[in-house]
């Protein structure tokens, strides 16, 4: 959408964060300093690694996205984008079906 301009770092930055409320920051406009720290922006691991198919057979990868209890970690915590979270969900469900991942931690 936005024309590519690699000269200014600012424009490439704004084109990245197109979704999510965290993408709307004020840029470098002078403003009252309200927060001292800057929260690090989470990025989707799958987008960074350019994964186009979340394989349900890759249990080790999927295991990083579930809790010890066996529940899928919400994307507000992991920062996964909605599309990849959807694929991840499907993959986790398939992996559970074939006993690669637990449905729930057994007591």
């Amino acid at each position: 959408m936005t024309p590519d301009a690699p000269r200014t770092s600012q424009s490439s930055h704004s084109s990245r964060g197109s979704h999510g409320p965290a993408g709307r920051h004020g840029g470098d406009r002078p403003r009252k300093p309200r927060r001292q720290y800057v929260r690090k922006r989470k990025v989707c691991r799958f987008c960074v690694d350019k994964i186009d198919y979340v394989d349900y057979k890759n249990a080790d990868l999927l295991r990083t996205f579930i809790l010890d209890r066996g529940k899928v970690i919400p994307r507000r915590i992991t920062g996964t984008c909605s599309r990849h979270q959807r694929w991840l969900k499907l993959a986790v469900k398939r992996a559970r079906n074939i006993a690669l991942l637990p449905f729930a931690a057994h007591a």
């Binding site: 590519d4 186009d52 006993a99 057994h106």
Partner: protein
């Protein structure tokens, strides 16, 4: 004629099953596939792995993976029936993956196109800056 579809079939055997018996199950499945004009593209024995949960009092299982191309959807039903009646099989899953592979190919192609365009554009820009 229906279009060709790609399936992944994984089944789990009891860990104490002799290898010969597992081969027998694989070959009977292969026969069913061939009867229906499909073909088994790949057989992969993952070996004994830990199960994430107990199935039929087993904590481990011997995993076998099959990649099947077929035009007959009915074949899957027959495979499921065979797996249900075969003694050593604990659990199985069949997943149709051709549409997901198609989507993956599309995304890869799109990314490559975009990279090519970007490379062309930046090359043009530097040329303009120089001239």
């Amino acid at each position: 004629m229906a279009e060709e579809r790609i399936y992944e079939l994984i089944f789990i055997c009891r860990p104490d099953t002799p290898e010969a018996e597992i081969d027998k199950v694989v070959s009977t499945l292969g026969q069913v596939v061939e009867e229906q004009q499909g073909r088994v593209e790949k057989v992969d024995k993952w070996g004994v792995r830990k199960l994430a949960y107990r199935i039929a009092k087993c904590n481990d299982g011997f995993f076998v993976f099959l990649l099947i191309h077929s035009r007959q959807g009915e074949m899957i039903k027959e495979l499921a029936r065979r797996l249900n009646v075969s003694e050593p099989v604990l659990k199985y899953i069949t997943v149709r993956i051709d549409e997901e592979l198609k989507r993956q190919r599309k995304l890869v192609a799109r990314r490559e196109r975009r990279m090519a365009r970007r490379a062309r554009k930046s090359a043009g820009e530097t040329a303009a800056a120089a001239g």
